[in-house]
């Protein structure tokens, strides 16, 4: 086990050694940056999964609206469906454009 493996392609010599203090400091910076970036990616992936789950649920909700009797639908129900469709459109736009910073 070695922190660093270095191959010299000109001579074939392989060096295995521990980090120098400078390399160890760089490694710490790298790991901190990687962890911060991973946290952002995890949040985006969570939002993507939420939007996809909402899209799946919307299929059933829309089917109910499609099968509703127009003669008995109330104005409030129409307004509610318009809001639902607007939310679904926003979700689809976010998925298409990759705007996954939030789910609303």
């Amino acid at each position: 086990m070695a922190d660093v493996v270095i191959v010299d392609a000109q001579t074939g010599e392989v060096t295995e050694r521990a980090f120098t203090p400078q390399e160890a400091a760089q490694r710490a910076v790298d790991q901190q940056a990687a962890a911060a970036q991973q946290a952002i990616l995890d949040a985006l992936n969570t939002n993507r999964a939420t939007l996809e789950a909402q899209a799946t649920a919307a299929l059933a909700q829309n089917q109910t609206a499609i099968l509703a009797n127009p003669a008995t639908v109330t104005l409030a129900q129409v307004a509610g469906q318009v809001q639902a469709l607007s939310r679904q459109n926003n979700a689809l736009i976010r998925l298409v454009l990759g705007l996954l910073d939030e789910v609303n």
Binding site: D8, G12, D30
Partner: protein, 175 residues
């Protein structure tokens, strides 16, 4: 026919993909190859085989000159990845490295083509990978190092933890 090596004394290396060097490593935090990018070739292929020590990481690459990594924020990368029915893409700019392949506790193979690293112009790298992660995982990358400097080597390292595996470096010789 024995493989050509840079230390061999042929006046003209054979045409085609030419072996330069290889190494194996175990529980390493980084692997560097010095002196592999030379005036002998313009473009190179790195074959990569590794298993990481921890899940959910990436293997990253830095260009190297005179045994020193370039850690400046002049790298960027674009990926496309496929897992199950999902295909996603992402771009990363102003990075201090370029992503090249997933680094997980799965076995990950990659071919990293490196274009013009020893020329005084920006270097591009294109990775196609094959990972056993999640019963088959595709992750392809383009990496850009936007510095017009000639580099003679590279470093590969995991974003976290260590990795164990092998690498082989080849040069593309056109004639």
């Amino acid at each position: 026919v024995p493989a050509y090596r840079l230390s061999d004394t042929y006046s003209v290396p054979p045409a085609g993909l030419t072996f330069i060097t290889s190494t194996t490593f175990s529980a390493a935090s980084s692997v560097s190859v010095d002196g592999c990018f030379t005036a002998s070739f313009t473009n190179y292929s790195i074959l990569w085989d590794s298993i990481g020590s921890s899940a959910g990481n990436a293997t990253q690459m830095r260009m190297r000159a005179s045994s020193t990594d370039d850690t400046s924020a002049n790298y960027s990368a674009q990926n496309v990845q496929g897992s199950g029915a999902g295909v996603t893409a992402a771009r990363y700019t102003a990075q201090t490295f370029m992503y090249v392949v997933v680094n997980d506790t799965s076995r990950d193979y990659a071919q990293i083509n490196v274009y013009g690293p020893n020329l005084a112009r920006p270097t591009l790298a294109r990775t196609t990978s094959a990972s056993s992660l999640s019963s088959g995982f595709i992750q392809d990358w383009v990496g850009l190092h936007n510095i017009s400097t000639a580099y003679d080597g590279f470093t590969l390292y995991p974003a976290a933890g260590t990795f164990t595996g092998s690498l082989w470096v080849y040069g593309y010789r056109s004639a």
